[in-house]
């Protein structure tokens, strides 16, 4: 009886197993299955008809999908071209001018292109607590291949500007360049203009020239007078009036005048 019972149990278990394997009971759902790793057979040569062959066997190795880095790229893409040659220094352009000039007077406008002392700075960015450091990119030095010339011009309508034409000066590595103009307003009023700065590059080999505008800064100068009196007349009148007033106001001015009158009378 026991043997018959055991046999029946075994038969029942086998039936259940067979039924489950036929219905896919032991396998996971298809949409949750990770994609099989491609094998060399999957990239085999296609058949004569051009139909690609299927892989001979599919591996079941799990594939790890690595997150793409969100930080700034630290390497240049393979198709990247070299950056254009440039001046390797950071420069500071300073324009100094008097906003107000006395009528009849002249003054100086100065434009300086000097090396900025901040030095080279590698760009950094901080994202979510991580510090990302940008890689220094080597830019070809323009001084090696070209002669660099700084050109400046001051356009100021209604004002006599000397020199009136473009002014040139060679730009050397590490050295500053300064341009001066003398401005003489023709009358009273407000005069507006532009201070231009260009860079001219002359190739050392081919002598080919190219020019770029570097800066165009607006400048505004007002010419003022005092009740119609210009600067030189005011100074002259002020000096003369001070002497006369001092003489009139001195306590011994009367004695001086009397003594002078006596001398004049003796001489006459």
């Amino acid at each position: 009886m026991l043997r018959r019972r055991n046999v029946l149990l075994l038969l029942a278990g086998a039936a259940v197993f067979l039924t489950g394997s036929m219905c896919g009971f032991g396998s996971a759902p298809a949409n949750s299955m990770p994609p099989p790793a491609p094998t060399s057979e999957a990239f085999g040569t296609p058949s004569g008809g051009g139909v690609p062959t299927q892989a001979a066997e599919l591996t079941s190795l799990p594939v790890m999908i690595m997150p793409t880095p969100t930080a700034a790229a630290t390497t240049l893409p393979p198709q990247a071209t070299l950056p254009a040659p440039a001046i390797p220094e950071t420069r500071r352009l300073t324009l100094e001018y008097p906003p107000s000039i006395r009528s009849g007077d002249s003054d100086i406008v100065r434009l300086t292109l000097e090396v900025d002392t901040l030095g080279n700075m590698t760009p950094t960015a901080e994202t979510q607590g991580n510090v990302v450091t940008g890689q220094t990119v080597q830019i070809p030095n323009l001084y090696d291949t070209h002669n660099v010339i700084a050109e400046a011009r001051l356009d100021l309508a209604g004002v006599d500007v000397r020199p009136s034409e473009d002014v040139n000066s060679p730009l050397l590595p590490g050295q500053s360049v300064t341009f001066y103009w003398s401005v003489h307003p023709s009358g009273s009023g407000t005069f507006r203009g532009t201070a231009w700065l260009f860079l001219r590059f002359v190739d050392k080999v081919t002598k080919q020239e190219s020019r770029i505008p570097l800066s165009a800064q607006t400048i505004e100068i007002s010419s003022a007078d005092l009740l119609g009196i210009n600067g030189s007349l005011a100074r002259m009148a002020g000096g003369l009036g001070s002497v006369v007033g001092a003489v009139l106001g001195f306590p011994f001015a009367t004695d001086i005048l009397k003594w002078l009158w006596k001398r004049v009378r003796r001489g006459g």
Partner: protein
């Protein structure tokens, strides 16, 4: 007469000093400074010559 002379002297001196101060006051200069990075001091790219080439210049 003396008081009148002194008053005139004071007025003349004050006006003259005012004219002198205005005529001799030093100019106040305005300063504008900008930083020019190296990228702005580079050779012009060939594409920027296109308008020049089209115009035949």
């Amino acid at each position: 007469m003396r008081k009148l002379r002194l008053a005139v002297a004071v007025i003349v001196i004050l006006l003259s000093l005012a004219l002198l101060v205005w005529g001799l006051w030093p100019s106040v200069y305005q300063r504008h400074s900008i930083v020019v990075p190296p990228a702005e001091m580079s050779l012009p790219t060939p594409s920027s010559f296109e308008p020049i080439l089209r115009s035949g210049g």
